[in-house]
Amino acid sequence: MKTLNDSQLVITTVQGNKESFNCLVDRYWPMAMALCLSRVSDVSEAEDIAQEGFIQAYQHLATLKDPSRFAGWLTRIIQKKCFDYYRSARKNRTVSLSVVSPKDTPVFTSNPGLTTSQIKLIREKISTLPEKYQRVIIMRFMAGLSTQEISQQLNKRYGTISVWFHRAYKILRQELTPLFVEVQSHDM
């Protein structure tokens, strides 16, 4: 099942094979969570949004005209969910109580060198990118899609996606230069 491409998984899901959809979830959960974490600071809220996004995608899977474009379609659903979350949060004007981590405590990740504040900084910098740049960066780095694949997913010309990617990368590189230095000095 895991060797099937997106198109095949979408089609078999619509035909009634729910396990196919679980494969799609496995494949794109990191991308979906990355999109949410770049907009929503609370991890559990981000998980809720990602889950709702996948469930909505499942319910409306039959309306996806080109099954090979599942990933691009999913990113639009997730980004809209994040936008709806913000609108709802502003309307309700609630203040969420979050657990305050000890300052600059290393967080357990595959790179133990990243601290909580570094992770927060990175997510903030991504959230300040224009939405189209965010989508391309996250699809490239978290879903491992090439710019050619992203252009096909988003139904945009390759040249456009290439430009967006390099611009987004340049912005992030500039914004995160101090952090690169910090991480490198920590590794030494």
Binding site: M33, L37, E47, Y58, A62, T63, T109, F165, Y169
Partner: protein, 232 residues
């Protein structure tokens, strides 16, 4: 900054579009070129940093697996609005056409004791986004709601990404596309549609009774059962 010779190749590497041969070549190159080596190394670091900061546990996935066992995929249904929002160039455009759609069903009126005017036997079968209506006895626009009564003299205004389908009867419908305006006017004792601007699609059961189109240049009969008219 990469060396000039490998600038494009390094960019393609970052984009993930190098084939294996080019990748092997780049790997060899960066062993001797510190400039390209630094760029590639920086890219790897960016990848690692982003993956780590946007990494999440997989526990949330399990809830999805559970949820989909209890819900069904919605069946594929035709989306009239999406079809309508596809570029209409293939249907042609009628520049500055003042169009009146004549329909001979007009005598069908349903009594409505709550209104001074009689509601027409037209049903709002679909409503998408913000569509406004102005009744002839009012000076203001109000947002339409599903199930709303339709009166002679009503003017409809659809906003961006909005659409309205008016069912004249089970077999005849008029669809107002986004950014368009349509009015129901009395003409020679019958109720007719008038497009002020925008795009309207008429779907008629064939063969149908005489169906007239009026323009500043004249009035002619439309014989088709489905057509779209766009007024600039």
């Amino acid at each position: 900054m990469t060396c000039k010779a490998y600038q494009t190749i390094v960019n393609h590497y970052k984009e993930g579009i190098l084939d294996q041969e080019a990748l092997d070549d780049l790997q060899q190159h960066i062993k001797t070129c510190s400039a390209c080596g630094a760029v590639v190394s920086e890219f790897s670091q960016m990848q690692m940093i982003l993956e780590d900061s946007l990494h999440s546990s997989n526990t949330g996935k399990e809830k999805i697996s559970q949820a989909i066992t209890e819900i069904e995929i919605h069946p594929r249904t035709q989306a009239p609005f999406r079809k309508l929002l596809i570029p209409l160039a293939r249907y042609g455009t009628a520049a500055a056409v003042f169009l009146v759609l004549g329909l001979f069903w007009g005598s069908r009126k349903a009594p409505d004791a709550s209104s001074q005017q009689q509601a027409l036997g037209i049903v709002v079968s679909k409503l998408q986004g913000n569509v406004l209506v102005k009744h002839p006895w009012e000076n203001h626009w109000q947002k339409m709601s599903p199930g709303e009564s339709i009166y002679e003299g009503d003017t409809f205004l659809s906003l961006h990404e909005a659409a309205l389908v008016l069912s004249l009867d089970p077999n005849n419908a008029v669809t107002l596309n986004e950014n368009s305006s349509l009015a129901l006017l009395e003409y020679n004792g019958r109720t007719e549609f008038e497009i002020t601007y925008g795009t309207v699609k008429a779907t008629l059961d064939g063969p149908h009774e005489p169906f007239f189109v009026s323009t500043p240049q004249g009035r002619f009969e439309a014989l088709g059962t489905e057509f779209i008219v766009r007024v600039r």
